[in-house]
């Protein structure tokens, strides 16, 4: 019978209980959605890497021999190793297309996962290309693919298409921000097909004790570092560079994305759970105090305290459990599917499905346990006394004057203000819940706008501040400097060389970008605070994110070398600059040449449109306009818009539910006071204004607290980006205005809707009894 009582009580106070249900629902809905997506990605990442055996170490060098491979294989802790040649070449299609070529002897580590065609067998001729390239360029098995490598043209029959674990995420060059798979690609061929004298430049290694699941643990990182050092010393430490998975762009980016999603998983549900808790406190405290006589009756009839406690705790238990289960099921089937579907364009994995993890069950259990406990604590007050006491109406609260009521200011305040201050002070939890509700609403709204701001700023920052050119002319590989210089002169451009280097500080090695620039006015630099700075012509500057990763600051020493070159240099950090997508070191051409390196620029930045003129030029790979480069943002923005919609909807629901619930509660409690005011001659309009005043104060306070929380949320969100990205959480003034106006409008509308009920307050009815 008590269960029936609970169901009917729930229906009778449906607005209040609905808010508890919705908060529990939304919390788990978002949690389960994000968690199932992140868990799915993590699960299928592990499965994929396990199946294809992603290498644990990549050893780069100039000319590896069989002997080197033998040395590595003889090291304890090495499971398998293979040597190969990895070079950037071209696929000669309608247009020359970037193609990273791998010439292999065997395929036991970093295996191709064949999509179509035949599997690779050592010694067989032909080429295997990534399936996105085949798809976009209209290539299929049996076609002949013409290619060019270091000036040599050759052709092979396409034997198959594949997915490859080292190419889950990859970019054509350092200037690219987002992948556009299919407009460049990668290929695998047998070493016999290498068109020149083979010189192996890479050895991939599979290690004992390092598996392919769940990212690299500290122990695994340690093994990788030790084995990297062991290989370096076994061969010739200055000649080679060993990098682990964490420095491999594809693995690192994909894994960081998963980790970012996992960290986001906890942020939003925490807000909803907090509001659910406040909702439970206000609703259950009021409900049990309203049902005081009923509780006394149940006690008098012989119900045990335990039974009555369970009965009242079961309200929240029931609501949070049904809310949790429904949220989990719906979150799993909507948010998770939606987000994971959008990952398909950014990452090349054969299979990516959502996975319901133990954490989702855990979240339901935590939500239910916390809600039930809070409910129990809220009811305790009415359950503790003897039945004889509970059967009597509660004695009125012993009210004391607060400080403000004792101050001189108090008497100067008008009636409405005094009334509202007293109401807030005497209903602290209810008021706190109102503030929290508005806080949550404005926080989410602000986060939504700030995400858009950040994305907008990113493109402006990249292509309006750091690079002010309108076009980039991309040179063919190994174009001699003299030729590139001619183009630079002709198009009044700035030459830049993009390469890779390895940086070492206190034994910690990181791969990074090496940018060498010639004089010109297109490349600019900004410090940590986004102020324009000029790089020291004689010093090496380091990107802030790289410096933070390595734990260095301006003036500190570090060791570095160009990838593929043995010579280690010792330099000090002359300046720190900020770049959103390229992390590494930057220097002038003069300094680079002084260190006896050849300046081989691969890009010319210009403001002159050379697109048509250079379309058939043999020395030019392509000319890209800023507009084209910015298009790469589109898929990223699409994802961001989706997140913004979710945030705005969540903010709206949160705001409406919490404010409406509190409004109803407040009206019920003030019914008698309002009818008294009516009897005394206050007009309905005046009473509505009094209610509106209080609502305005709480809303203002909620927004004032909510916006900094939103700023924190967005900063936290962008700080979990991969190591290669350094996005700055941006807050435009209009976002503050929109958040303020949006939250206020919502709060005002809810209050208007509610305060209409003042009209229906019946003076006679309310003053009875």
């Amino acid at each position: 019978m008590l269960f029936r009582k609970m169901i009917r009580d729930l229906l009778q106070s449906k607005v209040q209980f609905l808010s508890i249900f919705l908060m529990s629902f939304l919390g788990i809905f978002v949690f389960a959605g994000l968690d199932s997506e992140a868990s799915g990605m993590a699960l299928y990442e592990s499965k994929y890497y396990e199946k294809t055996d992603l290498p644990d170490l990549w050893v780069q060098g100039k000319e590896f021999k069989d002997y080197d491979l033998k040395v590595i294989r003889s090291l304890p802790g090495v499971k398998k190793s293979e040597k190969r040649i990895q070079k950037d070449g071209k696929a000669l299609l309608k247009e020359e297309t970037d193609l990273q070529m791998n010439f292999i002897e065997s395929n036991d580590i970093g295996k191709m996962l064949i999509v179509s065609g035949e599997p690779y067998n050592p010694g067989e001729s032909g080429v295997w290309i990534d399936f996105k390239l085949a798809e976009k360029q209209g290539l299929s098995t049996g076609d002949i693919l013409k290619m060019k490598l270091e000036g040599t043209e050759f052709e092979e029959e396409i034997r198959g298409t594949f997915y490859h674990p080292e190419y889950v995420y990859f970019l054509p060059d350092a200037a690219a921000m987002m992948p556009d798979y299919g407009s460049y690609g990668e290929a695998f061929m047998d070493i016999e097909e290498y068109p020149m004298e083979p010189a192996f430049n890479q050895i991939i290694v599979d290690l004992e004790g390092v598996d392919n699941t769940g990212g690299l643990s500290d122990k695994e990182k340690d093994i990788c570092r030790r084995m990297g050092d062991a290989i370096a010393s076994a061969l010739d430490s200055d000649r080679i560079v060993a990098t682990d998975k964490d420095s491999q762009l594809s693995y690192q980016t994909f894994h960081a994305e998963i980790e970012q999603h996992q960290s986001m998983t906890y942020m939003f549900p925490a807000v909803f759970l907090l509001i659910a808790i406040l909702g439970i406190i206000t609703t259950m405290t009021r409900m049990t105090s309203r049902q005081r006589i009923q509780i006394g009756t149940l006690k008098a009839l012989g119900f045990t305290k335990k039974t009555i406690t369970i009965h009242y705790a079961s309200y929240s238990f029931f609501l949070s459990l049904t809310g949790g289960i429904m949220g989990a099921l719906l979150g799993y089937n909507t948010i998770a599917e939606l987000i994971i579907g959008m990952q398909g364009s950014a990452y090349l994995v054969p299979e990516m499905k959502t996975a319901f993890s133990v954490r989702a069950y855990g979240a339901i259990i935590v939500s239910v346990a916390v809600s039930t406990l809070v409910s129990f604590l809220s009811c305790r007050k009415e359950l503790a006394p003897a039945p004889s006491e509970t059967l009597r109406p509660a004695s009125p609260k012993n009210l004391k004057h607060s400080l403000i009521e004792k101050s001189r200011l108090w008497m100067k305040l008008d009636f409405a203000t005094q009334w509202n201050i007293r109401d807030i002070m005497r209903n602290k939890v209810r008021s706190a819940m109102g503030i929290f509700g508005v806080l949550g609403c404005s926080m989410l709204l602000f986060a939504a706008f700030a995400c858009l701001d950040t994305m907008d700023f990113l493109s402006t920052w990249m292509y309006g501040e750091l690079n002010t050119s309108s076009y980039q002319i991309i040179m063919e590989n190994d174009t001699p400097y003299s030729v590139t210089e001619e183009y630079a002169k002709k198009y009044r451009g700035q030459m830049v060389q993009n390469g890779s280097c390895e940086i070492e500080v206190m034994g910690v090695k990181k791969s990074g970008a090496l940018t060498v620039y010639d004089t010109g006015n297109f490349l600019h630099f900004e410090d940590r605070n986004m102020k324009q700075i000029r790089l020291n012509r004689r010093g090496i500057a380091m990107s802030c994110k790289m410096a933070d990763t390595l734990g260095v600051k301006e003036g500190d020493l570090f060791r570095w070398h160009v990838l593929g070159d043995d010579k280690w240099q010792v330099s000090h950090v002359s300046l720190l600059y900020r770049n959103p997508t390229v992390q590494g070191i930057t220097m002038t051409r003069e300094l680079y040449s002084d260190m006896e390196y050849d300046f081989v620029p691969d890009v010319i930045y210009t403001n002159m449109n050379a697109k048509e003129e250079l379309s058939d030029d043999d020395n030019i790979t392509g000319v890209q306009s800023v507009g084209e480069m910015m298009e790469a943002f589109d898929s990223m923005k699409e994802m961001m818009y989706m997140m913004v919609y979710i945030l705005v909807c969540a903010a709206g629901i949160l705001g409406i539910v919490v404010l409406y619930n509190l409004g109803v509660l407040s009206l019920v409690e003030k019914h008698r006071q309002m009818s008294t005011l009516k009897v005394l001659g206050f007009t309905t309009g005046k009473i509505r204004l009094i209610l509106q005043d209080q609502n305005t104060w709480l809303t203002l306070l909620g927004i004032i607290l909510g916006i900094p929380c939103g700023m924190w949320l967005v900063s936290r969100l962008f700080s979990t980006m991969p190591e290669s990205m350094d996005y700055i959480a941006t807050f435009k003034p209009m976002s503050f205005v929109y958040t303020f106006a949006g939250t206020f409008a919502l709060s005002f509308a809810v209050n208007r809707l509610l305060s209409r009920k003042v009209k229906n307050v019946d003076m006679v009815d309310a003053l009875k009894g």
């Binding site: 009917r8 009756t297 008098a300 009839l301 012989g302 119900f303 039974t307 003897a386 039945p387 004889s388």
Partner: protein, 248 residues
């Protein structure tokens, strides 16, 4: 051995630093099956007496014996078991659960016995006494037609009869009534009194009724007058009237 015995019972409250006696040095006896009326003005201590009888409160001094068992030092769960097995309560304002129908309010009593601590002395003493079928309990008070109505759909008299049905459903050895006609008109009040008297006479259940209405003394076997927290007199009524014959 009397069915109920109060020995020098006191109930003291602290009001700030001051002591206040709601009951002081109360001695009284009640026999099983009696219809007892406790009379007194407001604030005399009638309700405190009823609360102590019903195990809804504990005395701060003295002994209360129920069927020979001292319940004055009972812990919370023991008192709950005492109430669950022995006591039925009828309140002045009915105290029905507003979200349950008449039937469901009565059926609650089944839950009471189900959830109470097992193996108590009361359980052994009440062996074979079952909770009545709610429909039967309701028809015994003439509410067969109203079983599916919520309290808000019933008149005051119907609500009080439901309250009595709920109390009787337990087959309690002690039926306590706190101003059971206080909120009813004379006609309906008389119906309620008839039910209570019938319960005492027919089923030999002890009925203790608290009231400030001295006319009710006529239907009682024993009349206890209370004033200022003390028992002023205990009278045995030699010429008990039927509830029909009482007017107020």
């Amino acid at each position: 051995m009397p069915f109920i015995e109060f020995k020098n019972v006191e109930r003291r409250y602290m009001l700030g630093t001051n002591e206040f006696y709601a009951l002081k040095s109360v001695d009284l006896e009640i026999e099983e099956g009696e219809m007892v009326v406790i009379l007194g003005p407001s604030g005399a201590g009638k309700s405190t007496l009823l609360n102590l009888l019903g195990g809804m409160d504990s005395p701060t001094g003295g002994e209360i014996l129920f069927n020979g068992h001292d319940i004055s030092n009972f812990k919370d769960d023991e008192l709950t078991a005492y109430r669950a097995w022995n006591v039925g309560v009828v309140f002045q304002f009915y105290n029905l659960i507003p979200t349950l129908t008449a039937y469901e309010n009565v059926a609650l009593m089944k839950d009471v016995r189900r959830n109470v601590k097992k193996g108590s002395i009361w359980e052994k003493e009440s062996e074979g006494v079952e909770v009545m079928d709610p429909a039967l309990a309701l028809s015994s008070v003439g509410l067969s037609e109203h079983m599916n109505q919520f309290p808000s759909q019933m008149s005051g008299g119907e609500q009080q009869r439901t309250s009595i049905a709920r109390a009787l459903a337990k087959n309690p050895r002690l039926l306590l009534c706190d101003e059971p006609t206080g909120a009813l008109d004379t006609g309906t009040g008389k119906e309620v009194l008839k039910l209570l008297q019938q319960e005492s006479r027919k089923n030999r259940h002890t009925v203790v009724m608290v009231t400030h209405n001295s006319f009710f003394a006529d239907i009682a076997d024993r009349v206890i007058r209370v004033k200022n927290g003390t028992v002023q007199s205990v009278e045995i009524n030699e010429s008990v009237k039927d509830a029909e014959e009482v007017y107020w």
